[in-house]
C-alpha cells in the first residue's frame, strides 16, 4: 500500500504536534518523578505492540508468523513489565504521614 503524499503530510503534522505537546508536558515533570517517568515512557514505547499484533494476526507466511510471534512476546514483556515497575515505584511516593510501626520498632 504505497502511501499517498497526503497521508505522509498528515503523519508529519501529527508527529510535529505530538512532539510539541510532549515537549510542553514533559518539561514540567519534577526531578522527583524522573525515574517513574522513564519507566512510564518505556512502557509506552511498547506501543509497537499494536503493529506486532496486526502483523501476527494477518500473517500468512511462516516467516511473518514467526517474526510477528516473537514481536508480540517481546512487546508484551515490555509493556507489562514497564507498567508494573512504574506502578510499583509510584506506590511508594507518599506525603508526610504518621511514622510506621515498623519504624517504632527501630527505637
Amino acid at each position: 500500500m504505497r502511501l499517498s503524499n497526503d497521508v505522509i503530510i498528515t503523519s508529519l503534522f501529527i508527529f510535529a504536534l505530538a512532539g510539541f505537546l510532549g515537549l510542553e508536558v514533559i518539561r514540567r515533570v519534577p526531578k522527583l518523578l524522573h525515574t517513574p517517568l522513564m519507566a512510564l515512557t518505556n512502557a509506552l514505547s511498547a506501543i509497537s505492540l499494536v503493529g506486532s499484533t496486526l502483523i501476527l494476526g494477518e500473517a500468512e507466511t511462516t516467516y511473518a508468523k514467526i517474526m510477528g510471534f516473537i514481536a508480540v512476546i517481546a512487546a508484551t514483556i515490555n509493556v507489562v513489565g514497564g507498567f508494573l515497575i512504574t506502578d510499583k515505584m509510584l506506590k511508594m511516593f507518599k506525603k508526610r504521614e504518621p511514622a510506621k510501626p515498623t519504624v517504632e520498632a527501630g527505637k
Binding site: I8, L23, I26, L40, L44, T53, L54, I70
Partner: protein
C-alpha cells in the same frame, strides 16, 4: 464503520497517553497518570484486536504470544528490586526495540512489492533504529548489572569504526530506497545496526548508562513513530513522538546537571580512573575518621541534620536503615532533612525513588537549589555514599573533569560526616578534597551496616538515659 471505531479508539488512546504524561507533573496526580496510560494502552490493544483483517488462527497466535509475554513480563515487573531499576528499564527497552525492529522487517518482506521511496526510507531508518536500540539497551543493562565491565572499553579509532558501521548501514538503506526489491540488503543492514548498537555503548562508562538509556528511549520512540508513518497508524506516531521527546529531555537534563555535553557522554569515554587523580586538588592532607558512637553523639547533639544520599546508599540498599536512623534522631528532637542532588545515584530521581520506597515522605526531600543556601545553618551533614555530588573541586578546580557541575555545598555546614567503605573515588574517578577538610569526619564501612550501628547507638543510648 468498524474501522472508524478503531480509529476513534486510537484517538482516545492517543489523548490518554498525553494525559498520562501530563499527570506525571506532580506526585499526587502521578498514579492517575499511570492509570490513564494503562487504560489508553488497553483500549488501543482491544481496538486493534477488532480489526477484521485478523484471521482466526491469528487470534490464537496472538493470545499465545501475549500470554507468554505476560508470563515473562509480570515476574520481571514485580520481582525487580528498586536498586536494579536502571538495568531493568534498559532490559525492558531492549524487548520493545526488538519488537519494533521485527515489525519493520516483517512489513518490508510483506510489502516490498509496493513500497514507495519515502516509505522505504522511513522503513529502513526504523529498522536501523530498532536494531541498534535492541543491542544498545542489552549492553546498557549488562553494564549496569555488572555482567559487563562497568568501565568504558576503548580502542584506537573506535569512533571511526562506529561511524563506518552506521554509514554502511545507511548506504545500504539508500540502495534499497532506489530499488526496494533488493531483499538481499536487509540482513546486512540488520547485522550492521546490531553491531553498531554494541560498539556505540561499549566505550561508555557504566555510570553514564542512565543518560544512554534515556537517549535509547528517545530513539525507541522515534522508531515507533517511524513505524507509525509507514503503517500510517496515527496512534503509533503520537506515542512515538511523546516518547522521543521525553527521552530527549531527560537525557538533556542529566547532561546539564552533570555539566557535560551529549558528545562528551557518548564519545567521552568518561569514568576511567584518571592516573592524575591522586595528586589533584592541592590540599590533600590526612584524614580524620570517627567511630560509630562518636558519630552518633554528634548527630544527637545537633539541632538540624541533613542527610546527603548518593550512589553508595543504592549499592548498600541502606534506604530503610536511613529512615530508621532519621526517625530515631527525630525522636531525639533533631530536625532531619534530605538533600537530593539532581544526579545523585545513577538515574535521575534515583535517590527519591529509593527513599520513597523506605516511606520517607517526599516533602522532606529537598532539591539542591532549595537546600544549598541553608547549609551554613546546618549543624551536621551525613554524606551517605555520595562523593562527586559533594566534591568542592567542581566549584574551583578548573582541571577537574566535573568542574562546573553544580554541587551540594556541604562543606559550609558546621560538621560533615562521610560514610563510605574506603577512600576510593566515585563515578568521576577523582579525589575529593572534602574528605581531607579538617571539619570532615570519615566513618568507614558499608553504608547499611554503618547506619544500622548509628541507629542502635542513638536509640540504645536514649534507652539508657530513659531508665
Amino acid at each position: 464503520m468498524r474501522d472508524n471505531l478503531i480509529q476513534l479508539a486510537y484517538l482516545v488512546a492517543a489523548i490518554g497517553f498525553a494525559l498520562s504524561l501530563k499527570w506525571m507533573s506532580s506526585a499526587p496526580t502521578a498514579r492517575r497518570g499511570i492509570f490513564a496510560g494503562e487504560a489508553a494502552f488497553a483500549l488501543a490493544i482491544v481496538a486493534t484486536l477488532f480489526s477484521d483483517s485478523i484471521t482466526g488462527q491469528g487470534y490464537a497466535l496472538i493470545a499465545a504470544a501475549m500470554l507468554i509475554g505476560a508470563a515473562i513480563g509480570v515476574p520481571m515487573g514485580l520481582k525487580v528490586p528498586m536498586t536494579a531499576m536502571p538495568q531493568r528499564i534498559a532490559l525492558s527497552h531492549a524487548f520493545g526495540a526488538l519488537a519494533a525492529g521485527l515489525v519493520g522487517i516483517a512489513h518490508y518482506y510483506l510489502q516490498r512489492a509496493n513500497l514507495g521511496k519515502f516509505e522505504m526510507a522511513v522503513l529502513g531508518f526504523e529498522i536501523i533504529l530498532g536494531c541498534l536500540v535492541f543491542t544498545g539497551s542489552l549492553m546498557a543493562a549488562g553494564k549496569l548489572q555488572e555482567w559487563l565491565p562497568q568501565r568504558p572499553i576503548t580502542f584506537k579509532g573506535q569512533n571511526y569504526v562506529n561511524f563506518a558501521l552506521l554509514g554502511a548501514a545507511i548506504v545500504l538503506v539508500v540502495l534499497l530506497v532506489f530499488d526496494p526489491s533488493r531483499t538481499a540488503l536487509i540482513p546486512p543492514i540488520i547485522a550492521l545496526s546490531l553491531a553498531f548498537g554494541v560498539f556505540l555503548i561499549v566505550p561508555i562508562g557504566g555510570a553514564d548508562m542512565p543518560t544512554v538509556i534515556a537517549l535509547l528511549n528517545s530513539y525507541a520512540g522515534i522508531s515507533a513513530a517511524a513505524l507509525g508513518i509507514v503503517l500510517s497508524n496515527k496512534l503509533l506516531i503520537v506515542a512515538g513522538a511523546l516518547d522521543g521527546m521525553s527521552g530527549l529531555i531527560l537525557a538533556l537534563i542529566m547532561c546539564r546537571a552533570m555539566n557535560r555535553s551529549f558528545r562528551n557522554v557518548m564519545f567521552g569515554a568518561f569514568g576511567q580512573l584518571q592516573a592524575t587523580s591522586a595528586d589533584e586538588g592541592g590540599e590533600v592532607g590526612n584524614v580524620r575518621s570517627a567511630s560509630f558512637d562518636e558519630a552518633a553523639e554528634i548527630l544527637k547533639a545537633s539541632r538540624s541534620v541533613v542527610i546527603v544520599p548518593g550512589y553508595g546508599m543504592a549499592v548498600a540498599q541502606a534506604q530503610h536503615k536511613v529512615r530508621e536512623l532519621a526517625d530515631a534522631l527525630e525522636a531525639e528532637g533533631v530536625d532531619v532533612r534530605y538533600a537530593i542532588h539532581p544526579v545523585a545515584g545513577r538515574m535521575p530521581g534515583h535517590m527519591n525513588v529509593l527513599l520513597a520506597e523506605a516511606n520517607v515522605p517526599y516533602d522532606k526531600l529537598l532539591d539542591m537549589d532549595e537546600i544549598n543556601s541553608e547549609f551554613p545553618q546546618v549543624d551536621a551533614v551525613l554524606v551517605l555514599g555520595a562523593n562527586d555530588v559533594v566534591n568542592p573541586a567542581a566549584r574551583h578546580n578548573k582541571t577537574s573533569p566535573i568542574y562546573g557541575m553544580p554541587i551540594l555545598n556541604v562543606d559550609q555546614a558546621a560538621c560533615v560526616m562521610v560514610i563510605k567503605r574506603s577512600m576510593r573515588p566515585g563515578f568521576a574517578g577523582i579525589e575529593n578534597e572534602l574528605f581531607y577538610d579538617p571539619k570532615t569526619l570519615m566513618v568507614f564501612g558499608d553504608a547499611k551496616h554503618v547506619v544500622g550501628e548509628l541507629t542502635t547507638e542513638v536509640t540504645g543510648q536514649r534507652d539508657a538515659i530513659s531508665i
